[in-house]
């Protein structure tokens, strides 16, 4: 943070001090009342608080409402293909560990068309912050069933209600080997949202945050019910978990102490059909990171390269 160093013996004055407006770009074109707006604010606040240099920060997204996110950040952005944000972000992070890389994805983007990449990106465990905007519906293409739509969701593709139980992104993520950070938060709880995104960003590895999201356009009733419902939401608390201020904590009627190193308990909570748990389900700071593998082998000098290359050619020499 800008200002005094912790030991009060020096003042840390960076070359440049960024205000929140240094991260803002244009006017977000999401619907009024869409949860995406609150995540955008929380992320801009995080960038400002962490003083992330905009030129050293990259937001990678796929396709969908959520994936418009990079256009509203005045950092570098990559708004690519539907379902394919993960591989691109991995390439960026792998070659440029100096960059802060975020992935912004939605329930269709991540859990449907991009599900294969999602599973493998958990296992790669590269140092990337992932925000899954889960509004349980396809918005951009106008109300089709999402893999996370609750069973019975009326949509343009299932006019009589969706017929299959939804994918549970938290449960799925916790089921993949080498998982290292899994948290859940909600767009309508800005204090908790911010604290969760901040903890995710601080985690050195693949930090997966599912943000429960309102879609006021196509899931109006569900959104209203969710926001009003205090009985089916529990905040996970722990000294190693997400730390929120008192006002935020006061919103929750239910709290549960949960040690984020306990993956069995985490899985149990993720599978509870009657309760949404917000907070940190699981964290493993020691999980192997793919971005560290091979990194030592990059950036040899031209002389080194040419010498090694000539030695390789020797193997084929006659």
């Amino acid at each position: 943070m800008y200002g005094l160093k912790l030991d009060y013996c020096a003042v840390d004055v960076p070359d440049k001090y960024y205000s929140q407006s240094d991260y803002e770009k244009g006017t977000a074109r999401w619907c009024p009342g869409c949860g995406d707006h609150s995540v955008l604010s929380a992320v801009q606040r995080l960038c400002q608080e962490k003083q992330l240099a905009p030129e050293k920060t990259v937001f990678v997204s796929g396709i969908g409402c959520s994936s418009r996110f990079p256009h509203y950040m005045s950092t570098y952005g990559f708004h690519g293909l539907h379902g394919r944000a993960f591989p691109v972000a991995e390439g960026v992070k792998f070659r440029r560990p100096d960059l802060d890389v975020f992935v912004v994805t939605g329930d269709g983007d991540c859990c449907s068309i991009g599900a294969g990449h999602w599973i493998h990106s958990i296992r790669y465990n590269m140092n990337i912050t992932v925000l899954l905007f889960d509004n349980q519906i396809y918005g951009m293409t106008k109300k089709q069933t999402s893999p996370t739509s609750p069973i019975g969701t009326m949509s343009n593709t299932h006019p009589h209600g969706s017929v299959l139980p939804p994918i549970n992104p938290i449960q799925t993520t916790l089921g993949v080997s080498n998982v290292s950070f899994v948290a859940q938060t909600a767009d309508w709880m800005p204090g908790h949202l911010y604290a969760t995104i901040k903890a995710a960003h601080e985690h050195q590895g693949f930090s997966f945050v599912k943000v429960m999201m309102r879609c006021p356009k196509f899931m109006q009733e569900q959104a209203k019910a969710l926001v009003a419902d205090r009985e089916h939401i529990t905040m996970l608390t722990h000294e190693n978990g997400i730390q929120v201020d008192e006002a935020t904590a006061a919103i929750f009627s239910h709290k549960k102490e949960h040690d984020p190193s306990d993956i069995s308990k985490a899985r149990q909570y993720s599978e509870d059909p009657d309760m949404y748990y917000l907070g940190l389900y699981y964290q493993d700071k020691t999980a192997p990171r793919y971005d560290l593998y091979g990194a030592h082998n990059m950036g040899f000098s031209a002389e080194q390269k040419l010498q090694a290359l000539n030695a390789e050619l020797d193997r084929y020499a006659l």
Partner: protein
């Protein structure tokens, strides 16, 4: 070390040597008997002596097929000559067979001719299983009846005089046999063995040297024919490798440090080579979860300023299509290597085809201009990667290299490349972005624009696959879309201006012009040479840049009465039922040339899965020009 008393003076051999211009040798065995190692060593010995060489492996499709079956045949063909050899040639002259079944797999592919000498392992005559004895006896009769000249060679018996178990060493005994048969230098063959087994113990090297000498001696005493193929000394430093190895060395020489791939035949071996060499040269092979992730990862690297390559084959290209469109639309430099195989769908994974040309040129929904180039030799496999990386970055575009299974496994010596610092990718530009320069500030003349790299202060933009303005902002306006498409296309035209018209091989005008691309060059030019020796008015031309197409073609075509492409992909035959000149589906380059030049270009193509042979070309020319077949 070799015992001096084992050396044989060639002058003591029974017969005088016949001097040849060239010969084709095949070694065929069951999978795992080392035929390929023997053949590669023999090829290397020939190349070291200054002979022209082309070797190609005969690979079974399955990992462990049942032994002594046609499916289990593994082997190698070595074509060696006094001058340069550019292709695998026609039928074999000499075959070394480790069992009597193996030749039949190749006979099925018309690889042998009447008079081909088959040197066959004789141990099967006394096999403990009577059915094997019978099979051997039957095959011997049948092979002779088919017009082959069969020699029974006691390979096992001779090897057992040297080693207790002949299974592992027979191939080096065969190397000794070929060394004598073709008057190769025993010293060079010995060095080759020391090189091959350099990671093994001295006792292994010694045993293999003894086997080499065993085969060398036996041949001198027992064969009633011996050859010599004089070499043309070039004095140049040479390297010898296959096309995939050349591609991988090209990747390293270009300064690319990430190869992002998913395993697919016949491309994968290039990545094996890279995985090993990157440890010393610097870099990483990223084995992605699928073909799509492989190109996505590479695009991520390139977007962040570090060029990357993705290597694949036909089915992988299909999967990468959408990302190739994104790289075109968002102008991300990228090198894509496609080692083509038989298609469509899973097709013929280990066989050669040139069937992906139209897919890479036009395969993306929407207009995606890109650079496509095809190496025609092993050396060009190396050079074209170095070139492709530079084109990709200078023109902010994907570049596709079309190799194929023939180049991938073909081995040919070529002058040793001399890697230079300027071939390597420059360090990432992290200087502040020039104020007010837009993310896609297209130069009207060339379509070129400068690319901001993450980390460059003031250059922040959001790359998008949506239509975008020069600022890089999403735009749904038709005129903005029209302009962007025009600028991306203009880049291609600008690059095209740097190309020269292709060289005509043979006379500059005449009756017939053959046009090829990719791996078929050697076979086409050899066929043309032979036809010209017979007085045919035929020339050929080989295209390396398929997008943008090399200039001047229409003018060159106008000097020939007929123009015909030669390709390894499908085309309808005009004599087929229902086929007319109007509904005929032409081969792939022919389609493109017809469209671009408005010349009535004909085509000669097939999908037999085999590299083209010079004789096929010769016969086609003879038929085309109504020449007598002699």
């Amino acid at each position: 070390m070799a015992s001096p008393e084992l050396r044989v003076d060639p002058a003591t051999t029974k017969v005088s040597r016949t001097t040849l211009r060239e010969h084709i040798v095949e070694i065929v065995s069951d999978s795992g008997e080392g035929a390929q190692k023997a053949g590669q060593s023999f090829g290397a010995v020939c190349a070291k002596m200054g002979n022209g060489v082309w070797t190609v492996e005969i690979i079974p499709a399955d990992i462990q097929p049942p032994p002594r079956t046609k499916e289990s045949v593994s082997g190698i063909r070595i074509r060696l000559g006094a001058g340069k050899i550019t292709n695998m040639g026609d039928e074999a002259d000499i075959v070394v067979a480790f069992n009597e079944i193996a030749p039949y797999a190749r006979i099925d592919q018309d690889a042998y001719k009447k008079g081909t000498k088959i040197l066959i392992e004789s141990m099967w005559a006394n096999h403990s299983d009577p059915s094997v004895q019978q099979s051997y006896a039957r095959a011997l009769e049948d092979l002779k009846a088919r017009g082959f000249v069969v020699y029974e060679v006691p390979m096992e018996e001779e090897c057992l005089k040297i080693v207790p178990d002949a299974k592992r060493g027979k191939n080096m005994w065969v190397l000794g046999m070929l060394t004598q048969l073709y008057n190769r230098s025993l010293e060079i063959a010995e060095d080759q063995i020391r090189m091959t087994f350099r990671k093994k113990s001295q006792s292994v090297i010694d045993i293999n040297l003894k086997l080499l000498h065993g085969g060398f001696e036996w041949t001198a005493k027992n064969l009633d024919f011996l050859y010599d193929i004089p070499a043309t000394e070039t004095g140049e430093d040479l390297v010898v490798m296959n096309g995939n190895e050349a591609l991988s060395l090209g990747v390293m020489a270009s300064g690319i440090e990430v190869c992002s791939m998913y395993p697919i035949t016949p491309a994968t071996s290039a990545s094996h080579q890279l995985a090993e060499s990157f440890e010393k040269v610097g870099g990483l092979v990223h084995q992605a979860e699928d073909e799509i992730a492989a190109i996505g990862f590479a695009i991520g690297c390139s977007y962040a300023g570090k060029p990357a390559v993705t290597i694949t084959s036909g089915p992988g290209i299909a999967l990468k299509t959408e990302f190739m469109g994104l790289a075109g639309m968002a102008e991300v430099p990228l090198v894509i290597i496609n080692v083509q195989r038989g298609g469509p769908s899973t097709g013929l994974p280990t066989k050669v085809e040139q069937s992906d040309l139209l897919a890479v040129l036009y395969g993306q929904p929407g207009d995606t201009p890109k650079v496509v180039l095809a190496p025609s030799s092993i050396e060009e496999c190396f050079q074209f990667v170095v070139l492709a990386r530079q084109i990709a970055e200078a023109f902010r575009t994907p570049v596709i290299i079309l190799s194929d299974a023939n180049l991938a496994t073909g081995v040919q010596p070529f002058p040793r490349p001399k890697p230079k610092a300027e071939w390597l990718a420059p360090p990432v530009d992290q200087s502040p972005w020039k104020k007010d320069v837009r993310a896609y500030e297209w130069d009207e003349q060339t379509g070129l624009s400068k690319r901001p790299i993450p980390g460059q202060e003031g250059g922040m933009y959001t790359l998008t696959g949506l239509n975008h303005s020069e600022e890089g902002r999403v735009s749904y306006l038709g005129n903005v879309n029209q302009y962007g498409a025009k600028m991306r296309s203009r880049k291609l035209a600008a690059f095209g201006r740097t190309l020269k018209p292709p060289h005509v091989y043979g006379d500059e005008s005449g009756e017939l012009l053959l046009v090829g691309w990719g791996s078929t060059r050697g076979a086409i030019e050899e066929g043309v040479d032979r036809a010209r020796e017979q007085g045919a008015s035929v020339s050929s031309l080989h295209i390396h840049f398929l997008s943008p197409m090399e200039p001047g073609l229409k003018e060159i075509f106008s000097r020939f009465k007929k123009v015909k492409t030669v390709e390894i992909n499908y085309s309808d035959d005009l004599t087929d039922p229902l086929i007319t000149p109007e509904n005929r589906r032409y081969s792939q380059l022919a389609w493109v040339l017809r469209a671009q030049t408005l010349v009535d270009v004909d085509c000669f193509s097939n999908v037999l899965g085999q590299p083209l042979r010079p004789r096929q070309i010769l016969e086609m020319i003879q038929e085309e020009l109504n020449l007598k077949n002699n």
